[in-house]
């Protein structure tokens, strides 16, 4: 059902972008007009469309660039089925000598580091916001540049919270959160939708613990090192117990009794957008989906408080980070291809037309990315984007520490968390399973 719905939405998206293009430039029949006028345009392949939520918008941006660029560059998107592991697509292409020129990755950065271009000293790396490059700097080599910043936490439906008299900024502790849940339930709605999706639990919800496990990044990374070494006991960590308490709280007030049957992303969109629930643990990538369902709604994001001590580190922050880095192959691509790729990315990030594509609103065929480069004339103007900007400005952005998880660990984390979520394991077992995930 959900697959069908998404398909239908995709088709509608294609139609919409086709209409927009034919309306303004009448170029749908020959989207590659100027590139085609070259003798031999340099073909630059781009693996996938960054993410599924904005794939039609990304395609539209590529079409526009192919039509307007004068550098004789032709960007071609290599599609692969969403949800396939990155390696299952990338390694055969490398093996065949057909490596894509541009790719977007996160946890695979260390694996890809030896075969991609060093961005050090490039104009785009210079424009990237402070801190956003760190994760992709591996032994002094700038392996990738950031796509955007994303944030996750408890999404809320402002209308529902207003009706219940809940001010999200006043929620400082776990007890406050429970009181807010009760207030929402008092209006006859359900409090929260807590999805059992493995990636939501495994990558994002576990991030809430790891990002608040120590007040300094060094301390947090030290915990990851201890886990790798097998010397960390999670169950003895007070913050971990806090995290489990909040986990239980979300389960308790969830709209459906928590079961891994509840793995339908669209159901979460539906519930929050229509006000069935007041909260949903998810990220800002869901905002376009929410606004599609309820265009006049306002949806914000707030912290997931773990501790009952309001002053405890992280209780007032949301997790913010770079979900993908752009990397350019150096092993199999030509200099022209790399130049073409950089020209396209520069167009996206530095020209008004490109920026409108990158950060413009979804309904105007933009990708709604929060820009992490200086010199942006376009800012996403949605309610949630402004919420996030406020957290960043106030220095209340928690580390997106899951990008330091080794490739695949989040799957094991997700499986263990689903088991706990489903009531199939107790706290001690859950802690042991999370620890075991690092022993690979």
């Amino acid at each position: 059902m959900s697959v069908m719905r998404r398909r239908a939405a995709a088709v509608a998206g294609v139609l919409a972008s086709a209409l927009v293009l034919s309306g303004c430039a009448a170029s749908t029949s020959e989207p590659t007009e100027s590139a085609a006028s070259c003798e031999t345009p340099t073909e630059v392949t781009w693996l996938n469309t960054i993410k599924i939520e904005i794939q039609e918008q990304f395609r539209a941006a590529v079409d526009e660039y192919n039509a307007v660029n004068t550098d004789c560059v032709q960007i071609t998107i290599l599609d692969y089925p969403q949800g396939e592991p990155f390696f299952s697509v990338a390694t055969p292409l490398y093996e065949a000598g057909n490596a894509p020129v541009v790719m977007t990755v996160l946890q695979e950065l260390p694996d890809m580091a030896p075969r991609v271009m060093d961005w050090t000293g490039t104009e785009l790396a210079g424009l990237a916001a402070a801190g956003t490059l760190d994760k992709a700097n591996i032994d002094g080599k700038q392996v990738g540049i950031p796509v955007t910043a994303e944030a996750f936490g408890l999404l809320y439906n402002k209308a529902v919270l207003d009706e219940a008299g809940v001010d999200p900024t006043a929620i400082k502790t776990r007890d406050d959160l429970e009181a807010a849940f009760k207030a929402v339930e008092a209006t006859g709605r359900k409090a929260v939708h807590f999805s059992g999706l493995w990636w939501s639990l495994g990558a994002h919800f576990t991030n809430v613990y790891h990002a608040t496990a120590a007040a300094e990044q060094d301390g947090r990374l030290a915990i990851l090192d201890e886990l790798t070494a097998g010397s960390k006991s999670l169950i003895d960590d007070a913050q971990f117990t806090n995290w489990l308490d909040t986990f239980d709280l979300l389960k308790k007030y969830s709209i459906d009794s928590a079961s891994i049957a509840d793995t339908d992303y669209d159901q979460g969109v539906e519930n929050l957008a229509t006000g069935e629930t007041g909260f949903w643990f998810m990220g800002n990538w869901a905002e376009p989906n929410l606004l599609q369902t309820t265009p006049e709604g306002s949806f914000g994001v707030m912290p997931v408080p773990l501790s009952n001590d309001a002053a405890s580190y992280g209780n007032d922050g949301i997790s913010v980070g770079v979900p993908f880095y752009i990397i350019i192959d150096e092993e199999q691509s030509t200099q022209e291809e790399r130049d073409g790729a950089i020209a396209f990315i520069s167009w996206l990030l530095t020209t008004p037309e490109g920026q409108a594509r990158w950060s413009g609103p979804i309904e105007e065929d933009g990708m709604n990315f929060i820009p992490v480069y200086s010199g942006f004339g376009v800012e996403p103007s949605t309610y949630m984007s402004q919420d996030i900007a406020k957290y960043i400005a106030d220095g209340k952005a928690l580390s997106w520490i899951n990008s330091y998880y080794p490739t695949g660990l989040q799957d094991v984390y997700g499986a263990a968390a689903q088991k706990y979520y489903d009531g199939k394991s107790d706290r001690a077992t859950f802690a042991k399973e999370l620890e075991a995930a690092w022993k690979k």
Partner: protein, 296 residues
């Protein structure tokens, strides 16, 4: 003179052989033998899916054998092999007996039973996901039917049986055709002789028909064992290894190890181990089955 004759003959033979066999042999080597040997070679290196930098001896195998998840996957695969081996063949043989009874519409029935085999694994997975997740629970809610109130795919062992059911549903028709061929190939005079000797229907089946069609059993058992060991699409599409990665059969486990976690060297070693296990089991089965075959 005679030597000359044989050499021209052998040249002619060689030409004939090249004409018919060289192209298939080349294709076979390129898509099977070479990748297979390369795959074995990689297991002795620190291959990361792209390159290798050093040889590590048997380290990958040691690591693969020391991985608890590998053993878990192996055990559930074995259980799956046994369950589907028994059920597929019992159902297929029963169906074969049914559709060889001379009556009207037998051909339609044969087609009917064979059709599930024509549906690709992934589509089949989605269809059955709907059946187990939505259709059966809804039916059971409205009728009070036991067993199916819960979505079978959400619990390890019911998910396991769900896979077996789908496999039986998918494979039985195919094996049925093999058994039908076996049953039809039995000479009528032997059956007539048995009838005249006063053999009962059951006795004829067990003592005459089954031994005479033992070849069909050899083939069917071999195919079911191999298919069950290598099952991937039903596993991937139906349960995806869930809940919580407890129904990961060995193929899916190998895939995840390599492509999901990026451990290409140990993943490949597990694939080689899997090959050895399947080879040993399948060869043993064929040898045993061959012994029971009657030479005519």
């Amino acid at each position: 003179m005679s030597q000359n004759k044989t050499s021209t003959k052998s040249i002619r033979e060689l030409k004939k052989f090249s004409l018919f066999a060289l192209i298939p042999l080349a294709i076979f080597s390129i898509v099977l033998v070479v990748p297979f040997l390369r795959g074995i070679f990689f297991t002795f290196t620190d291959w990361d899916g792209f390159d290798y930098t050093s040889f590590v001896g048997f380290e990958n195998y040691v690591e693969a054998l020391g991985d608890q998840e590998f053993w878990d996957a192996l055990w559930i695969t074995l259980a799956y092999v046994v369950a589907s081996l028994v059920l597929v063949n019992v159902v297929a043989f029963t169906l074969a007996l049914l559709v060889t009874i001379p009556m009207r519409g037998v051909n339609a029935l044969r087609t009917f039973f064979f059709v599930p085999n024509l549906i690709g694994g992934v589509i089949l997975g989605l269809v059955w996901q709907f059946i187990f997740g939505q259709a059966l629970p809804t039916i059971s809610e409205n009728t009070g039917l036991p067993f199916f109130q819960e979505n079978w795919l959400l619990d390890t062992w019911t998910a396991f049986w769900a896979m077996v059911i789908v496999t039986v549903w998918q494979m039985s028709g195919y094996m049925m055709i093999i058994y039908v061929t076996g049953l039809m190939s039995i000479e009528k005079d032997v059956l007539e002789a048995a009838l005249i000797d006063g053999s009962s229907g059951w006795k004829t089946l067990v003592m005459i028909k089954m031994p005479l069609m033992a070849q069909a059993f050899t083939i069917s058992l071999f195919l079911t064992i191999r298919n069950a060991f290598m099952a991937y699409d039903v596993n991937f599409a139906l349960t995806g290894g869930g809940p919580y990665r407890t129904t990961e059969l060995i193929s899916l486990h190998v895939f995840n190890e390599a492509f999901g976690f990026g451990f290409f060297d140990t993943g490949q070693s597990k694939a080689v181990l899997m090959f050895l296990i399947i080879a040993v089991v399948a060869i043993t089965q064929v040898i045993i089955s061959k012994r029971t075959e009657v030479q005519r």
